[in-house]
């Protein structure tokens, strides 16, 4: 089911949580809402799920206005950040809950409930935990049960609020891949909220980057990483170096008062200046970290620090030492006006 969000606004007191949001979610896609905490992403998710209401704007499911439908009637599965499992019910009863509270004439038979619940528990590979209580499960297991519970009512849309937020790094990685596989199997339109760029880039079909209640960019993981639309996206996703044009005369002439955003791996280092755009620097620190070598250099003009990443092979071909004087040249960059830069 596709979702269409048009001119959505939401205000909490004097604070604008969502500012004129427009977004189209395609049927069957897995979308990430990415941004720092307080950017409005969870609010947007809760409005889609019917747990909050917008002040103004339109929300359409498959072209149909769902404004008047409350959470019960939206057929949306919601997975909460802290799972919100019913602590006094077994895993089985948690998953069965959505089926048991259906109106009598729609409620499946006890045998059917049993079959469905076990099917779902098998899907999340936790059938063996059916009789346990939530307090007896690990974080990762709770997360998967919460997902199974949401899927039990056969939602047309699945919403996940920071699904891996409370888990440790190892479990997070595993669950990420697992969620991706599950989505490929079920193809339910899914939206998940995260503040972790790696998570968004690895799992989602498309990423929506939000900041201060505004959508900064919508695109595939590759697009938002390789072609950030705004300075915020540049800084939020991946590492970036800032070059101020005022520090370098040739640039200033070309771009006026502007800032160039350059990824650490998009910078070349050479022993001699090849043209006027090369900048003289001094090597401050060389650190080999796994497969890459990180070099920290200081601009001679302003002594600002610049971070550069080289592959190990490249570094070995032309090794550097602390104190070397060399020249750097950005290979790829984007220029934003000074005022718009954060």
């Amino acid at each position: 089911m596709s979702i269409s969000i048009q001119n959505l606004n939401k205000q909490f007191g004097a604070y604008k949580a969502l500012d004129d949001i427009n977004l189209e979610v395609n049927s069957g896609e897995l979308l990430a809402l990415l941004g720092p905490s307080g950017c409005g992403k969870t609010t947007l998710l809760r409005i889609i799920g019917g747990l909050d209401v917008a002040d103004s704007g339109k929300l359409l499911f498959h072209g149909e206005d769902v404004e008047q439908r409350d959470a019960r009637e939206r057929n949306v599965g919601f997975v909460f950040q802290h799972y919100a499992l019913f602590r006094h019910m077994t895993v089985f009863e948690n998953v069965a809950f959505g089926l048991r509270v259906k109106p009598k004439k729609l409620r499946p038979s006890e045998a059917e409930i049993k079959r469905r619940v076990h099917e779902l528990l098998n899907l999340v590979q936790l059938d063996w935990l059916a009789e346990r209580y939530p307090s007896q499960l690990s974080g990762g297991q709770r997360q998967r049960i919460a997902l199974a519970r949401a899927l039990a009512v056969e939602p047309k849309i699945l919403l996940l609020d920071e699904p891996f937020g409370a888990l440790d790094a190892q479990v997070r990685k595993e669950l990420r891949r697992w969620l991706r596989r599950l989505h490929d199997e079920l193809h339910i339109t899914s939206i998940f909220v995260t503040h972790d760029q790696e998570e968004a880039l690895e799992v989602a079909d498309r990423v929506v980057v939000m900041n201060k209640g505004v959508i900064e960019q919508v695109g595939t993981p590759d697009e938002v990483y390789a072609a950030p639309a705004t300075p915020f996206v540049y800084q939020f996703i991946g590492n970036v170096n800032l070059f101020h044009s005022r520090d370098h005369a040739p640039w200033s002439e070309q771009h006026g008062d502007a800032v160039a955003y350059v990824r650490p791996h998009d910078i070349d280092i050479s022993r001699s200046a090849q043209d006027a755009t090369a900048l003289p620097v001094e090597v401050k620190l060389v650190r080999a970290i796994g497969s890459v070598v990180r070099v920290e250099v200081a601009l001679e003009a302003s002594s600002e620090l610049i971070e550069i990443e080289l592959s190990r092979e490249r570094f070995d071909a032309a090794p550097l030492a602390d104190g070397d004087r060399v020249f750097i040249r950005p290979r790829q960059f984007r220029v934003f006006e000074e005022a718009s830069a954060a």
Partner: protein, 276 residues
């Protein structure tokens, strides 16, 4: 509606709040307002004349002095009891811990008659007091005894959880810096539990001021000597002096409010201090 209440998907707000407000108004707010309205009918001057009457002032003095003495006794012994229950192990501790709440559960009239019997000149405990030439029951001392019983759990129950939370590491740090055991208590532990102790003291004090049932049996109830203010209200009522009873009741209510505000202020101050 939207500005009064934040949106929520959960139902039942109007029903629940509506019922709450209705019930609260009928049972508490309207009846309590009767005190203010009826006092207004005798005017501020009349109110002042009643509450500054000799007998009223004497009863207030008895009530406050006895309540304060009982609260002080409970502050000291309550701290010792809380300390012993948190820090030491001994047989029967769990039962004793549970028994601390007895004054909350035992009807005040029962407490009253049994304390009067125990501390009467020929009672189990009263006889020893009598030997020392001290009359316990039917004197202001009897009032203090009853109020001590009533207020006993407050200090214990407010101090206990705080004492449990004092980290062993902090004490160890103090000890490793050369502090003796008494220094550790005085400089590290006591400041940590002081706000809770003060809260417990105030709660016991506030409860004692309004107490009636446990006191009247042991007090002797002699005007100007061992007559507490709540009893004076009852006496006025029995003489059909409704205006007098109402005025004294209002005075007590205002005193209770001030105490309640004080307690809240202490807790607010303590939580702020903790957060720093």
């Amino acid at each position: 509606m939207s500005s009064f209440k934040a949106h929520s998907v959960l139902p039942g707000f109007n029903l629940a709040l509506g019922f709450t407000l209705l019930y609260l108004s009928l049972i508490v707010l309207i009846p309590l307002s009767a005190l203010f309205v009826n006092t207004a009918s005798i005017g501020l001057g009349g109110f002042w004349d009643v509450v500054t009457g000799d007998r009223v002032l004497a009863s207030l003095k008895v009530t406050f002095t006895a309540s304060f003495a009982a609260a002080v006794a409970n502050a000291f012994f309550g701290l010792v009891v809380a300390w012993v229950l948190v820090r030491y192990r001994f047989p029967g501790k769990r039962i004793i811990d549970a028994l601390v709440d007895l004054p909350f559960a035992l009807p005040t009239a029962v407490a009253g008659i049994v304390l009067a019997t125990l501390y009467a000149p020929n009672g189990w405990l009263g006889q020893y007091f009598a030997e020392l030439g001290i009359k316990a029951a039917y004197t202001p001392l009897g009032i203090v005894i009853a109020l001590t019983f009533i207020g006993l759990p407050f200090v214990v129950r407010t101090v206990q959880p705080v004492l449990e939370d004092v980290e062993a590491e902090v004490e160890e740090a103090a000890a490793s810096l050369g502090a003796g055991r008494w220094d550790v208590f005085r400089r590290v532990i006591f400041p940590a539990v002081a706000p809770a102790l003060l809260t417990g003291f105030s709660l016991a004090f506030a409860r004692a001021i309004g107490e009636y049932g446990s006191v009247i049996f042991i007090a002797g109830n002699m005007p100007f000597i061992s007559e507490i203010t709540p009893l004076l209200i009852v006496a006025k009522l029995e003489q059909y002096d409704y205006a007098g009873a109402t005025a004294i009741a209002l005075a007590m209510l205002l005193i209770s409010f001030i105490l309640m505000l004080t307690i809240n202020a202490i807790q607010w101050w303590a939580s702020r201090r903790e957060a720093r």
